[in-house]
């Protein structure tokens, strides 16, 4: 088999090469050499993006499982498998990211023996560990079906109700707890982002992100795989996203109002700029876009609105974890290029693994698989190019 070097494959290789160099710096020269983290900024880009955003962006799994298996929304069934796959990969990569960020990653298993139940971090770690196992079982039928093992598929179907309830329970707990992590820092985190409502806001935004992410990945894989795009599914998700964004926006502004911040928000300040950037991307632009029926019915419009809101929620997580601390610390934190390159490498790995998985496993419905096989010869190579198109985002 001959692998052709396309543009995106070269980008992929460059990202991997830079990432491997940074990995070398991380493990052979230490956290100080690889990052711009300091005693004043002990949590940097890896916590802000890889952990907070990574887990948030994997929320599509529990949202779609909830919609289809819990509420029996039959029309969304075709997106459950890709959503579960994204979530499973997302959590695995989150753990990879953690191995970079932890100072003593070789002791990560200490979570299992030295438990501190009062620690939010312990709760998050424990939930992520269990939920990744749940996702593994939710993902397994893909492999069994591919291998044509009928019995194990039946066994998993028997425990499916437990997996579903457990998965959603664990997701509720740790998605909200990522917000609770910051509850102990009332004097450090800027009041725009420090609120007792943090766990609720984090959970609410995870649901919206789950919907937006499903639209994003469905569109993305449809173009990449030359699949037929299931527009009715996207339209349905887009409608749900609009509702979710409204609920999130109302919660958010009620919180600002309740804490008397509105006046401070309209006064120009470093934090205010980032806050309005975040609010514009998360709420104003996508809500206005999705309010037009034309946008809600067009695949491009839905894609655009979802991607903008995803950027908004990513800005939110970075504001909570990085920007919100700069005034307290008294100086800016700008990640080193090696920090970015590790993150980029992890994202690229995610895209590549997703591509390989949909290539070999029955992730997408059968009819579209046939379309794919018949029409698209370039997909014979597993590490194909278009997957990488958005790796840099």
């Amino acid at each position: 088999m001959k692998i052709k070097l396309t543009f995106w494959r070269i980008v992929f290789l460059v990202i991997m090469a830079m990432g491997l160099y940074s990995t070398y710096v991380r493990y052979l020269r230490g956290l100080g050499a690889v990052s711009n983290m300091t005693d004043q900024f002990p949590w940097g880009f890896w916590i802000g993006f890889d952990c907070l955003c990574g887990v948030m962006l994997a929320a599509g799994g529990f949202c779609m499982v909830g919609a289809v298996y819990l509420f029996n929304v039959e029309s969304l069934r075709s997106v459950v498998r890709p959503a579960v796959l994204t979530a499973f990969l997302g959590y695995l990569l989150f753990i990879v990211g953690l191995l970079f960020d932890l100072g003593r990653p070789w002791f990560i298993w200490h979570q299992l023996i030295y438990m501190n139940p009062r620690s939010v971090m312990f709760e998050v770690g424990f939930c992520v560990m269990t939920y990744t196992t749940v996702l593994f079982f939710e993902f397994l039928p893909n492999v069994f079906e591919r291998l044509n093992w009928k019995k194990p598929v039946k066994w998993i179907h028997r425990i499916y109700p437990i997996l579903i309830v457990l998965g959603i329970l664990l997701s509720t707990l740790h998605q909200s707890s990522l917000g609770s992590l910051y509850l102990i820092m009332p004097s450090k985190l800027h009041p725009f982002w420090y609120t007792p409502a943090l766990p609720f806001l984090f959970f609410g935004s995870a649901v919206a992100v789950g919907l937006a992410m499903t639209i994003f990945e469905s569109t993305q894989s449809a173009t990449a795989l030359g699949r037929h795009l299931e527009l009715p599914v996207l339209v349905r998700l887009g409608g749900a996203l609009l509702v979710a964004l409204w609920v999130n926006a109302l919660l958010r502004f009620e919180d600002f109002f309740h804490r008397g911040l509105l006046r401070q928000m309209i006064r120009p300040s470093y934090e205010a700029y980032f806050l309005w950037l975040e609010l514009a991307l998360t709420f104003f632009i996508p809500i206005i876009l999705l309010s037009f029926k034309k946008v809600r019915l067009s695949p491009h419009g839905l894609y655009l609105a979802s991607v903008i809101s995803l950027f908004g929620f990513i800005t939110n997580r970075l504001n909570v974890s990085l920007i919100g601390f700069e005034t307290y610390v008294g100086h800016h934190y700008v990640p080193k290029w090696t920090e970015f390159s590790v993150t980029l490498m992890i994202i690229a790995m995610g895209f590549a693994l997703f591509r390989v998985a949909v290539q070999y496993l029955p992730i997408f419905p059968k009819d579209s698989v046939q379309v794919r096989n018949a029409s698209n010869a370039r997909l014979a190579v597993p590490l194909a190019s278009p997957v990488m198109e958005h790796a840099g985002h």
Binding site: W43, L70, N72, L102, S119, E123, V165, L173, I184, K188
Partner: protein, 256 residues
């Protein structure tokens, strides 16, 4: 019962004997260039700061209800009954939540190490449990740093404020901050000028309570939410079953 340190900055002459004693006690290097560093770090667990001819010590405050101990996922920090907040390096996984959570930003990190530790003043726990004062208090030539029972030291601090009100700002920093700390500070100037967080900013509530308000609900939340989710599952699947059965019945009915 609980021991504490009273630091009276009006008595401090900036001799840095405490720094030197601390370095010796913790087997850390100490020389002129380290002495010149005016901030605690992984290799300097206490620092004497100079500003406008006044001096101020910075070190771990040994909170009564320490945030670091409450956030650590593996319980690497705990407050001993004698008062020191100590660190077990053998448990630490390096998540640095302690550093992020500490209102005084006192835990520091060995960023250059390949097996990094969190470093901070641990209030000489071996000496304290043996009934000795901390190394810094023993080394202090003027009594600016005084070791003793917290209750006694609070009383003494109040006496000093009453006897010589013109010499001090009328407050004991650490008495109520974040629910009280084992380091008590008297000063003629605002400690905030030396990087301490303002009292009104950190408040009187022990920080673990902010987390506790949420964490306390989790044991109730788990069974209730599981039941709700299970209930929804059951109802929606039961509805589908009933709908299927009805459709079947209709079909049979029309066939007859």
């Amino acid at each position: 019962m609980s021991k504490a340190l009273l630091y009276d900055s009006t008595l401090c002459i900036g001799c840095k004997q405490c720094e030197q004693a601390c370095a010796t006690q913790n087997s850390l290097p100490y020389n002129d260039s380290i002495a010149a560093e005016e901030y605690p770090s992984a290799h300097k667990l206490t620092a004497v700061l100079t500003g406008n001819g006044k001096f101020m010590r910075r070190l771990c405050m040994h909170c009564e209800k320490p945030a670091c101990a409450s956030v650590c996922p593996v319980g690497a920090f705990h407050k001993t009954k004698e008062g020191p907040v100590v660190y077990s390096v053998g448990k630490c996984i390096g998540c640095r939540y302690c550093m992020a959570a500490c209102p005084f930003s006192q835990p520091k990190y060995e960023w250059g190490s390949l097996n990094p530790r969190v470093r901070k003043c641990i209030m000489c726990p071996d000496r304290v449990s043996a009934g000795q004062p901390t190394a810094c208090a023993e080394a202090c030539p003027t009594g600016a740093t005084k070791f003793g029972e917290r209750d006694d030291l609070v009383r003494e601090a109040r006496d000093r404020l009453n006897q010589d009100p013109s010499n001090y700002l009328p407050r004991i920093y650490g008495l109520h901050e974040v629910g009280g700390t084992s380091i008590l500070i008297l000063a003629a100037v605002n400690v905030e000028e030396f990087g301490y967080p303002a009292s009104e900013k950190v408040g009187d509530i022990p920080l673990p309570e902010y987390t506790g308000r949420v964490m306390d609900h989790i044991p109730d939340f788990i069974p209730v939410w599981s039941l709700v989710l299970g209930g929804i599952y059951w109802i929606s699947h039961r509805r589908a079953e009933v709908a299927a059965a009805e459709a079947e019945e209709k079909k049979n009915g029309s066939a007859q």
